[in-house]
């Protein structure tokens, strides 16, 4: 087969397979019918409107937002200094430390959730929201370290060494010289962390209590009750939110370099 036919055909099929379901979700959510169906039965915005009236969606959206923003911020507060130490210092046990902070990416999320429920929530009576916050922070930490390390490694270290030689304190050199240069890396890590945390399911599966659950978990349990198109509408809205954030990030930061 010649590349001339091969390329467009393969791309059409593959991209269709990857993106197609998303359009179906969008179409199904604009249906006027009572159940999830494609092609949609008539056009209506009633399911989109319903999303905003379901109380549990509002609560779980707030929790997911709080976790995604707070957890990612906390992961950066821990991760930026760690990345700095890993890339600029002769760090004792450097490799061990790097492995420990990147473990949460390797171990299946459901196991983390279960372990936290069993050995942190139950014995210590720790609040579920707080536990979720800790779990999401741990989950985002590897991404934070990886992305921030990458942008530190792209930055020549002799600039800050020069600043220190010229009499600046180490901290001063970091905030005045390094930070401005890795700002876009940090923002990229923030966005990646936000999306990861916001869409996270397995970790949060066991970490739900009465009235406290993340949005994806809430959507799952809503689907156990009914398949009405409101979950499709919510999915579509969330997808547009994620795409919007990523698009802006790409536009201003060249985000995909860091993924």
């Amino acid at each position: 087969m010649t590349p001339r036919i091969f390329t467009p055909l393969v791309l059409f099929l593959v991209i269709g397979f990857l993106i197609g379901p998303f359009f179906i979700i969008v179409a199904a959510s604009l249906s006027g019918g009572e159940t999830l169906a494609f092609p949609p039965q008539g056009f209506s915005l009633k399911w989109v409107a319903k999303v905003f009236t379901v109380e549990s969606f509002q609560e779980s959206f707030a929790i997911s937002m709080l976790l995604a923003i707070g957890g990612t911020a906390a992961a950066l507060v821990l991760g930026v200094p760690a990345s700095y130490a890993l890339s600029r210092y002769k760090l004792p046990f450097g490799e061990t430390i790097r492995t420990i902070v990147s473990l949460p990416i390797i171990v299946p999320g459901i196991i983390v959730g279960l372990a936290l429920l069993r050995y942190i929530v139950v014995p210590f009576g720790l609040n579920i929201t707080l536990t979720l916050f800790l779990a999401h922070t741990a989950l985002v930490l590897p991404y934070a370290v990886r992305v921030v390390s990458a942008s530190l490694n792209n930055l020549r270290s002799d600039i800050e060494e020069a600043a220190v030689l010229l009499g600046s304190s180490r901290a001063g050199a970091f905030f005045r010289v390094v930070m401005p240069n890795i700002r876009s890396g940090i923002l990229a890590a923030f966005i990646l962390g936000f999306v990861t945390s916001f869409n996270q399911v397995p970790v949060s599966l066991f970490l739900s209590g009465p009235g406290v659950r993340t949005l994806p978990i809430d959507m799952l349990s809503y689907m156990e009750i009914t398949y009405d198109p409101s979950v499709a509408a919510l999915s579509a809205l969330l997808a547009f939110m994620s795409i919007g954030i990523v698009f802006l990030a790409e536009r201003f930061l060249g985000f995909s370099r860091y993924v």
Partner: protein, 275 residues
């Protein structure tokens, strides 16, 4: 390179200690629970687990589906990645964007779409009947096929992205050179492209395989209780029976499978290299 060790530790330790306490310790305790029985170390939880035919079936199914998704995504991934790297830079950027896009959408939403698509009255069945490939609706929901399709859609982008970066790093003249020397496309792929991109394949393969092993949503929604995988079995054991020992066993199996896949693929990559 700064030399001050105390300063370095002060910067790095908070993150490490946090991950160790919040993450590592509970997981290690959980895994240890599977090796305890009546206050001594024992493998009895594992023999019990594997003596149940249901558990064996679920284990094999998880392994099989993981493998199938990995292999199929590698095949499609090569075709797609190859097509994408040969585009003009502008088109390439757009295509990569389209591949990355699904990764930004919640897996709940992505799986949910398949309920509509694969249902008895869904578009796949409508299309099959329209072109006369089947007379009556084929059942996809709650079958391994549905889970396979769902997983493939979920993880294919990771494979494509890994292979794109591998193909980009390949010497530009390798393929034309092989063609000039008379190699056919089959030979070009196995003798030139595969050896030169195996690192990308290993990364992509590991991501897809472990992703498939540890996906929860897809088998839960598209498979239900008829197509249990290890992850859904773990959830069921805990929620229905409070069986934390079985959960610990499954957790350990999942972790071992992920690490083993990683090691094996790496080994394969280096073995080919020596030849």
């Amino acid at each position: 390179m700064f030399q001050n060790r105390a300063e370095a530790l002060a910067l790095a330790l908070p993150a490490a200690v946090f991950a160790a306490i919040v993450f590592l310790a509970p997981v290690v305790i959980l895994l240890a629970e599977g090796f305890r029985s009546a206050d001594s170390w024992s493998l009895s939880a594992y023999t019990t687990f594997f003596s149940d035919p249901l558990n064996r079936t679920v284990f094999l199914r998880t392994f099989r589906l993981g493998l199938m998704v990995t292999v199929v995504s590698a095949v499609i991934g090569y075709a797609a990645a190859f097509a994408i790297v040969n585009l003009t830079p502008r088109n390439k950027g757009q295509m990569i964007g389209l591949v990355v896009l699904p990764l930004m959408i919640s897996s709940v939403a992505r799986t949910y779409a398949w309920i509509v698509i694969l249902g008895r009255t869904g578009i796949v069945n409508q299309a099959l009947q329209l072109v006369g490939l089947s007379d009556e609706p084929i059942r996809f929901l709650f079958t391994e096929t549905a889970v396979f399709i769902g997983l493939l859609q979920l993880f294919l982008p990771l494979m494509i992205l890994s292979l794109i970066s591998a193909l980009e790093n390949m010497p530009k003249d390798a393929i034309p050179a092989a063609r000039v020397l008379g190699a056919n496309w089959f030979q070009v792929f196995f003798k030139v492209i595969l050896p030169l991109t195996k690192e990308g394949l290993v990364i992509g393969g590991t991501l897809v395989f472990t992703g498939s092993l540890t996906a929860y949503i897809t088998p839960a929604i598209l498979g239900g209780s008829k197509v249990l995988m290890l992850e859904t079995l773990l959830y069921q054991r805990v929620t229905v029976a409070n069986d934390f020992v079985a959960a610990s066993v499954i957790a350990f199996i999942l972790i071992v499978m992920s690490f083993a896949a990683n090691l094996l693929l790496k080994r394969l990559a280096t073995a080919r290299n020596k030849r």
